[in-house]
Symmetry: C2
Subunit: 385 residues, 2 copies
């Protein structure tokens, strides 16, 4: 096991009817900005529940944070925070809203050009407003971590940032608040959580059996409950397990002391930035091809994945690996996320621009061994056509 540092102070309030706990969790004198996405938070009643729980507190609202939240939109929220002297940010939504709120929390107190936050990956952050979240979409894990991903529309750049100052103080996870989600968003959440785990698990053996088993436990749960969570709108247990699994998939725990990959994410980010695919769609496209491409470097863990996650006992190692990758692709398709570029009306014309953007963003040595070069990425994209 490698040395590691683990720190995660976010309080999780999990379960039915937990939004009312806002009254205990938010200071009475806080000047709150509630940030959210679109009309759905209004329609499904979540925003109203939040409003009621906050009672007589000083609250204003910022709506319109889009999927893959943009620097341009978030800069407007920063202006509102400054103009109204807001001192507590409450995100109500999914990963995009929470990521965006983290950016606003840092940018509102940032002395220079706030895009610097992205260019330094968050290392230039020295202070941030307190933030918290009410999660409505299980997927990204942003509700219990210190990172986010923001897109600058002007340059089509999708970049990540992180800072210990950006952990939500608390996050409220009420699985019933996911009942009104479109199936497509739940399916995306299943894939997103699955790939988050894989990026921290499918590398090379590192004598970390607990981290391996925790990762496998999350993957097995997603495989068992993913389809039910997508198709049964109000199945509390399936939605609860998806929600807690997605949080644990990226709260830092399973990544402690082990190598990490993230090449699928980096390649996927470029696809989203250039062609507007959902984040999870890009992961579903890239991951199977990436695993196949890196099968030798990942041999040991791929066999373990085949045996422990997919219970594949027949065949030699190569056959087990092949079957495990096929099962992964079939799982994504089964929950409803297509896994080839052609399914999204994209073809080989995208390869050159994507590789150019990877190079522009200095993403030329990705993966746990830094051996995922632009050439490797090109082969992965060709295999994903």
């Amino acid at each position: 096991m490698n040395n590691f540092n683990f720190y995660n102070p976010t309080r999780i309030c999990f379960g039915k009817d937990t939004i009312s706990q806002l009254d205990q969790l938010v200071p009475k004198d806080a000047k709150i900005l509630v940030l959210y996405g679109g009309a759905s938070a209004e329609k499904n009643g979540t925003l109203n529940e939040v409003r009621q729980a906050l009672g007589a507190r000083d609250v204003s609202y910022f709506s319109g944070i889009e999927p893959n939240p943009s620097f341009e939109t978030l800069s407007k929220a920063v202006s509102q925070v400054k103009a109204e002297q807001r001192n507590f940010l409450l995100a109500v939504g999914g990963g995009s809203v929470i990521d965006g709120t983290k950016f606003v929390a840092a940018a509102a107190l940032y002395p220079g050009d706030t895009w610097e936050i992205m260019l330094t990956g968050g290392r230039s952050i020295t202070q941030a407003l307190p933030l918290a979240s009410v999660l409505t979409l299980p997927a990204t894990g942003s509700e219990m971590n210190r990172g986010g991903v923001i897109t600058q529309r002007a340059t089509q750049s999708k970049l990540s940032f992180k800072s210990d100052l950006l952990y939500p103080q608390f996050s409220i996870l009420d699985p019933t608040k996911t009942y009104s989600l479109p199936a497509k968003q739940v399916a995306n959440g299943v894939v997103d959580a699955f790939v988050h785990v894989v990026e921290q698990y499918l590398t090379y053996p590192a004598q970390a059996p607990v981290q391996d088993r925790f990762a496998e436990g999350l993957l097995l749960t997603l495989i068992e409950q993913g389809e039910t969570a997508v198709t049964q709108t109000d199945n509390y247990e399936a939605r609860a397990n998806l929600m807690w699994t997605a949080t644990l998939a990226l709260n830092g725990l399973i990544g402690c002391g082990v190598p990490q990959d993230w090449s699928t994410h980096m390649l996927g980010h470029e696809l989203t930035a250039l062609y507007g695919l959902d984040h999870a769609q890009t992961l579903a496209i890239i991951l199977p091809s990436m695993l196949a491409e890196m099968r030798q470097a990942k041999h040991g863990k791929l066999v373990q994945y085949a045996e422990r996650v997919w219970q594949i006992t027949q065949g030699n190692d190569e056959q087990k690996i092949q079957q495990a990758i096929a099962n992964t692709r079939a799982f994504f398709e089964r929950v409803g996320v297509k896994t080839y570029l052609k399914d999204y009306q994209l073809g080989s014309e995208i390869i050159e621009p994507v590789i150019a953007q990877l190079q522009a963003h200095k993403m030329t040595a990705l993966g746990e061994q830094r051996n995922v070069t632009p050439e490797v990425c090109e082969r992965v994209l060709r295999a994903s056509l």
Copy 2:
């Protein structure tokens, strides 16, 4: 899954040569009291490493915190803190030292009779000094939780307390600091961690597959690595995995949203308080008999335990359960902790006094279903002779 609240702000600094990080972690102007057990921390060099890492800071020392730390001893530490106006407590040792330091942290700022802290289970704590730890013995999980257990020698009362104010700010976990431990203490640590997991796992099914798999992952790791950790003094990987497993066994995570038992612990505490057995020895004696006694109430999870943790596939449910309990007992014996009262020169004469103490401490309806009555405890003790 039940509703839950999870909060754990302790920073974990894990790995080789991490004690030097004290210099970044402890404020320069802190007036530190280092609390430790006996001569071993001096002899094995850990205390000296701590002293060097703290550099020019204002440090004094309190030694003599015993296994099953006593209210009487800790009250002397409280006096020292007050007399010297110490404002930062650093525990260097295992669970007893850290538990004791938590008590001192609360008691030093407590307005009334400090035994009230124990009588209220910690609910009367409204403030506490900041504390941190350098862990030298993997076992109790105290390094990353908010609780402790203290014994009042005068009344032979071993009671627990907890408070959100008692999370260590940070804990340094350097597996090499365990190399000098006697095998007996490592064996006790393996059993302690194992039973911590079982108390949160072997109850009744609660539709919490992630928590189940995390618990099973910890148990499997202890079974795989426990003996090696005990017998191979300087096997880094085995000691590292034991250390991280023991921390995760009782940091609140696997207990989220599921029923919990703790009857084996409550009964064990009385055995320690009356007869001086090591905590882990009492758990190794009680657990197999308790599981056998409660096999009907715990049927579903016992079968799951048999199949997933012990890979028992043959036989009917009853046979699987019987084999799993036998395997559990054999595992404790194999790592070196005896599992019958007679192994410790105790016989049926202890039953009446132990039951009387349970009743005196109002422990008359224990377990996840509150059906572990004094009559049940008596049968468990008889089965453990």
